[in-house]
């Protein structure tokens, strides 16, 4: 059987960090190769905060499979088809934003896992298996194992429920959406605030107690990244195509304009 391994999930299981790049502006499959060449482990193909179409998201995902960078889509909503269509098309995982309760997390797991774990509907010969047609019992087992399901915790309610959410079978990663969480806490942008540190502490221990992986999103200052990674965060949003493009572009214009003529 020709299974394309979920490299991101393997890294997480090995206790390593897995670096993801947010895709907001890219619309061609080059970005998968580019991400790989730049050292990223997974693609965070974002359908929540941009207008990328599902066709484009899936094309980038398919290219990611052979480029050796795990394609993961952040879906825009919680309906089952948001997640299943991109996974049927080639994604090796989804990130579902704004999950506040274990009930919501259980619904995500149910949508994304094949029976007996959940109730995802079967499609035929997926690219993750090189289109091989294998018996459904084996296919559902292998794909359940090789798919990474992440829920995002982005509110005080979600943090309070972290332990119960982490206990939900079928969920692999609890990713803190720090930006939205701070806004909901009334401390917008205060990413180093004690309450944020507490939230990370709580989510990391919830993950440890339940064999899940903690993730960090929205933190881009080096000292805070280091702090939360040292606390145990493994599944990392490292920045986005637009942020990297702007940083490098600004540096170049500033250099050129600073030259003495």
């Amino acid at each position: 059987m020709a299974l394309i391994p979920n490299l991101c999930k393997e890294k997480l299981k090995a206790g390593e960090i897995a670096c993801g790049i947010g895709l907001r502006q890219a619309r061609t499959v080059d970005i998968a190769k580019i991400a790989k060449v730049c050292g990223f482990d997974w693609l965070f193909i974002d359908m929540e905060h941009n207008t990328m179409g599902i066709d484009t998201a899936v094309q980038i995902a398919v290219a990611g499979l052979d480029a050796g960078v795990t394609p993961i889509v952040r879906v825009p909503g919680k309906q089952h088809f948001h997640a299943t269509r991109v996974m049927d098309g080639g994604a090796q995982g989804v990130v579902v934003p704004h999950i506040d309760t274990p009930e919501e997390a259980a619904q995500v797991a149910s949508n994304c896992r094949y029976p007996a774990l959940g109730h995802r509907s079967l499609a035929g010969g997926p690219p993750q298996l090189e289109y091989e047609s294998i018996p459904p019992a084996e296919m559902t087992k292998v794909l359940n194992e090789n798919t990474l399901i992440t829920v995002m915790l982005e509110s005080p309610t979600a943090i309070e429920n972290a332990d119960a959410i982490a206990a939900v079978e079928g969920i692999d990663v609890l990713l803190i959406g720090t930006n939205d969480m701070c806004a909901e806490m009334g401390i917008p942008g205060e990413f180093g605030h004690d309450r944020v540190v507490d939230a990370y502490d709580k989510v990391v221990s919830a993950c440890r107690n339940n064999g899940k992986f903690p993730g960090m999103g929205g933190i881009y200052s080096h000292d805070l990244m280091e702090r939360y990674i040292k606390m145990g965060c493994q599944f990392l949003l490292s920045g986005s195509d637009i942020s990297f493009l702007m940083a490098a572009a600004k540096q170049r214009t500033s250099f050129l304009k600073g030259l003495k003529r």
Binding site: D30, A32, V37, A63
Partner: protein
């Protein structure tokens, strides 16, 4: 320096047969993965006989690089930018249709090969090199070595000129477009006509003389493929995505209809 090899060209250098899947109706990067799963060496992305855009061509090409399938594009015409744009963005080979003269073959070389062999214009940030910044001299040399240029012989005039066409430096494959050639000869569709074998002999002799690969195009009948491949062709497409869908789907429908007819 990270250079993605042209596996098709490597195989041809070893004298092996290479098979392409012709892409006419697929528009997604899955084309290469499907070609790989069905034991092909290259995808023959056909811009001449389809409505696909440069964007789709390049998306399929870039994805193919990582799938280990060589992306080769049949361009629409002889303008230099048709070949150069797809090569800049991910294709590793170009098939130029309807080449009748050595001058036209040379024009194709000029469009596809960098100086000193041709006059292709230098770009940068190539997916073929994993986007590494490669010094222009190295980039030009590697691209010239790696890219595969096929020119198509599709008229009696081209057959007359085949020796000079094959002699053109920079041309790797002389590919016979048998279907159009037969139409031009007034022998539409007669792939087993004795004149076909005569043309093939001439093309293969020219290729052998000049160290080029001969390509067999348009022949789909298994018996004829067997007969002609024995003559020395090494480059061919198996068929088009569309043809495979038509064949597989009509076969299955026929089977199902047969089940319910009793």
């Amino acid at each position: 320096m990270a250079v993605i090899r042209n596996a098709t060209k490597d195989k041809l250098a070893q004298g092996k047969l290479v098979l392409g899947l012709s892409i006419r109706i697929i528009r997604t990067p899955e084309a290469a993965k499907i070609a790989k799963a069905t034991d092909h060496d290259f995808i023959f992305i056909d811009m001449e006989h389809s409505g696909m855009s440069f964007e789709s061509v390049v998306d399929m090409s870039v994805a193919a690089l990582d799938s280990g399938i060589t992306p080769i594009v049949r361009v629409i015409g002889h303008d230099h930018w048709q070949s150069a744009r797809v090569l800049d963005c991910g294709a590793m080979g170009v098939v130029v249709p309807h080449v009748d003269t050595a001058e036209q073959a040379k024009a194709a070389v000029n469009a596809c090969k960098y100086p000193p062999i041709g006059h292709r214009s230098m770009s940068s940030g190539f997916p073929h090199f994993d986007y590494e910044a490669v010094p222009p001299a190295d980039a030009a040399k590697k691209h010239n070595e790696n890219m595969l240029l096929a020119v198509m012989i599709e008229t009696p005039k081209a057959v007359e000129n085949v020796d000079a066409i094959a002699a053109t430096e920079g041309v790797d494959v002389v590919h016979v477009g048998t279907n159009d050639l037969l139409a031009e000869m007034g022998l539409h569709g007669q792939f087993d006509h004795p004149k076909v074998a005569e043309v093939y002999e001439k093309v293969i002799a020219a290729c052998k003389k000049h160290g080029k690969t001969a390509g067999l195009g348009g022949v789909r009948d298994p018996e004829l493929c067997k007969r002609y491949l024995k003559m020395g062709f090494r480059f061919m497409t198996t068929n088009a995505d569309l043809a495979f869908i038509l064949a597989g789907a009509s076969q299955r429908a026929k089977e199902m209809r047969a089940l319910s007819s009793d």
